[in-house]
């Protein structure tokens, strides 16, 4: 259980870093969405840190910086990165579903769903409609 939750924590660390980068290129409603999303990732990170407080090996700490998949220099690339972050973070939470039960699985399902919803919102912000995918 702790391995997949540790992977989820590493994903949340990376997501928070990414929003720090991309937020600088957004304005208006898209920036509001990015801020709300970053706050949601911080909440998930905090839950995982508490959940894994006594885990062995220790839960992963955030890296000082993360490599971005492409340069982020304007609103379009910022929104593309946001979609990618939500998809990738959703992937690690989906993986955690198979390895958890009870309250941990509920957390993982809620997190996967939140990532899917936010990815759809960022796709729509980028002009894609309806912005959904068959199986997030």
């Amino acid at each position: 259980v702790t391995t997949t939750l540790a992977d989820a924590l590493a994903g949340e660390h990376a997501a928070i870093y990414g929003y720090g980068v991309l937020g600088a290129h957004l304005t208006g409603p898209a920036l509001d969405l990015a801020r709300q999303t970053e706050a949601a990732h911080r909440t998930r990170r905090d839950w995982l840190v508490t959940r894994l407080a006594s885990a062995s090996p220790a839960a992963p700490a955030a890296d000082p910086a993360y490599a971005l998949p492409f340069p982020v220099s304007d609103p379009a690339s910022a929104l593309r990165l946001a979609v990618g972050i939500e998809e990738r973070t959703g992937d690690v939470w989906r993986a955690a579903l198979a390895d958890t039960g009870g309250g941990d699985r509920k957390q993982a399902l809620d997190a996967l769903t939140d990532c899917a919803l936010r990815a759809a919102r960022f796709r729509r912000a980028a002009g894609q409609s309806p912005g959904t995918v068959p199986l997030p």
Partner: protein, 42 residues
């Protein structure tokens, strides 16, 4: 459609939380997909 999606989402959530590990990921994706459909449908 909204009613069908709402019912299907609830069923997917319930089954995901109770499923065997090998089915949990797929059921979770279905639940998340239904949630997205509902948001788009408003």
């Amino acid at each position: 459609v909204v009613g069908a999606e709402t019912t299907a989402r609830a069923a997917a959530v319930k089954d995901c939380l109770a499923s065997r590990p090998e089915h949990a990921g797929l059921l979770g994706s279905i639940a998340a997909s239904r949630a997205c459909h509902l948001e788009v449908l408003g």
